[in-house]
């Protein structure tokens, strides 16, 4: 019972903060700053999610063996920045905000920039900064910095209002590198009654002092993906959306603390199938991330997530099952493959088309060979807003 008492204060604080932010005076701030008189128009927009939560119970107690800064029982909700919940209610692991500018220079050329900031991160991150050139009808060329569209929600994975969970399933989302600097080409077409959009992209990315590794090490580790090549295609018709993606990259890590280096070839592919009827909807995604290391071992990581929700007016209960299972041919070099499954139940309430509240319960369970954080049960709340 004690844990519920401890939750009362933070939940009350969060609710009052959230209600303040839904107050009409703030909600009615007009986002449209278009300046139609001049040729150049600029549109500013943004989003934030105030997420809080705590681990209700867990199987592992004490400091994490490889990084004593984290204490367990714990739950790793966001891999990319090591957003880790523990006992004791916290808003730090996943609370985030982003602002975006879309500048249209003329009918063919525009520029998009997005900066996000996270409560668990010290500095803002540039997620988007690219020029778009619509060089022919249905064709689009972009140059600059973008998200790697590895998964269905990758491009907008920080935008809480856009999905039924508090955050997308960690079985899939959250690698050491999530952006690329390069070029992409997109083509939109109608095929057999489907609206389709397809792209190819290529680029590179280096992340210094990558927060992804914090759960497993206190070392300063730089990660880089070079020669990223990928393609995706998304098909939509009535209630059905399907997406395929394939990606290749040369990944490497430099441990600045120890001087250790590792390099691997990444092959990644994924399929997402979503069905959305008026009330019912089903979201499913399967991916496989295969890495062949230059020291003659591989790690294959198939993962999937499947969930179903039902809209009852402004309320949306959503049940999700996620699964992640690493295989390796060399337990000597890779002694603890991560293997876990997770079931979550989310209840979302839409205040209006740009504001939502969520409550989520996660039951996370590791396989015996895996020892990331131990099993845990987690309670989270979220307030999502776009403007």
């Amino acid at each position: 019972m004690n844990m519920y008492k401890r939750l009362l204060l933070p939940v009350a604080l969060w609710l009052s903060l959230a209600s303040l932010m839904t107050a009409p005076a703030i909600a009615q701030v007009a986002p449209d700053t278009s300046n139609a008189q001049q040729g150049i128009s600029t549109r500013f927009s943004g989003f934030f999610s105030i997420d809080g939560g705590e681990v209700l119970s867990g199987s592992f107690h004490g400091s994490m063996p490889n990084n004593p800064a984290y204490s367990c029982p714990c739950y790793l909700a966001d891999w990319t920045s090591t957003g880790m919940y523990s006992t004791g209610f916290s808003f730090k692991p996943e609370t985030r905000a982003g602002v975006q500018a879309d500048i249209k220079f003329n009918d063919q050329v525009s520029f998009t920039a997005q900066v996000t900031d996270r409560a668990d991160d010290t500095s803002p991150q540039l997620q988007w900064a690219f020029l778009t050139y619509d060089f022919a009808p249905n064709w689009e060329l972009t140059v600059g910095r973008k998200r790697i569209p590895l998964y269905y929600y990758s491009n907008f994975q920080d935008v809480g209002i856009a999905y039924p969970w508090v955050t997308p399933p960690p079985e899939l989302y959250g690698w050491e590198v999530t952006n690329y600097n390069g070029v992409s080409l997109r083509y939109n077409a109608k095929v057999m009654g489907f609206r389709t959009t397809s792209s190819v992209f290529t680029g590179t990315e280096t992340v210094l002092d990558d927060a992804y590794y914090l759960s497993g090490s206190t070392d300063n580790i730089n990660a880089s993906w070079k020669n990223i090549w990928g393609a995706d295609t998304e098909w939509t018709k009535d209630w059905l959306t399907m997406r395929l993606v394939y990606l290749l990259a040369n990944a490497s890590t430099d441990d600045i603390t120890t001087g250790a280096r590792a390099a691997s070839r990444v092959h990644s592919y994924g399929i997402a199938i979503n069905a959305d009827f008026d009330d019912w909807f089903v979201l499913s995604e399967f991916t496989a991330d295969d890495r062949s290391y230059n020291t003659n071992y591989y790690v294959n990581a198939p993962a999937f997530s499947v969930g179903a929700g039902y809209r009852i007016g402004a309320w949306t209960p959503f049940l999700n099952y996620g699964w992640y299972y690493e295989n390796t041919n060399d337990l000597g070099q890779y002694p603890t493959p991560a293997r876990y499954k997770r079931t979550s139940l989310t209840l979302r309430y839409d205040v209006n088309p740009t504001t939502a509240f969520k409550v989520q319960y996660d039951d996370y369970e590791e396989a015996a060979i895996s020892n990331l954080t131990g099993n845990s049960k987690v309670f989270r709340i979220a307030f999502d807003k776009t403007f």
């Binding site: 139609a36 619509d134 249905n138 491009n155 907008f156 209002i161 776009t386």
Partner: protein
């Protein structure tokens, strides 16, 4: 109408008059635009950012009425098939994926008409009763 009908008779007549005035939404373009008709799908593609051009090539700039306007609800129900929540969610996904910006919102039918009349790239929707020679109808919502 159904909501109107359950209240008092005086209000019923007001509502009846209002429903007569609201004869349905039509999509309009500049008379110089070579397009003569658009299908529902072509129009939806423009309002959902899937097509940045009119069929035939010239760039298309869609105009929307503000949230809560009756014409906006009718138009989107017919053309994009999305209610306000679905439309906002769709555009949140598009905008924050760096795929474009939602249609520009203008205050009234009159403003839609004057902007479309002044720019061959613009397309908007207005109540059928507001159509005049300054714009050309390319789609009628039934």
């Amino acid at each position: 109408m159904s909501k109107c009908a359950i209240v008092g008779q005086a209000i019923f007549f007001l509502c009846f008059a209002a429903s007569l005035a609201n004869a349905g939404e039509v999509a309009v373009v500049n008379p110089k635009n070579p397009i003569s008709t658009l299908s529902k799908d072509e129009l939806a593609d423009i309002y959902l950012g899937n097509a940045k051009n009119f069929p035939g090539g010239s760039s298309a700039v869609p105009l929307d009425l503000p949230e809560g306007a009756a014409g906006r609800q009718d138009f989107h129900k017919t053309v994009t098939g999305k209610n306000e929540t679905q439309f906002k969610a769709y555009w949140a996904k598009m905008v924050f994926s760096g795929r474009g910006v939602p249609p520009k919102e203008v205050a009234s039918d009159a403003e839609v008409k004057s902007m479309v009349a002044g720019n061959p790239n613009m397309i908007g929707y207005i109540d059928k009763s507001a159509v005049d020679g300054s714009v050309k109808v390319v789609f009628t919502a039934e």
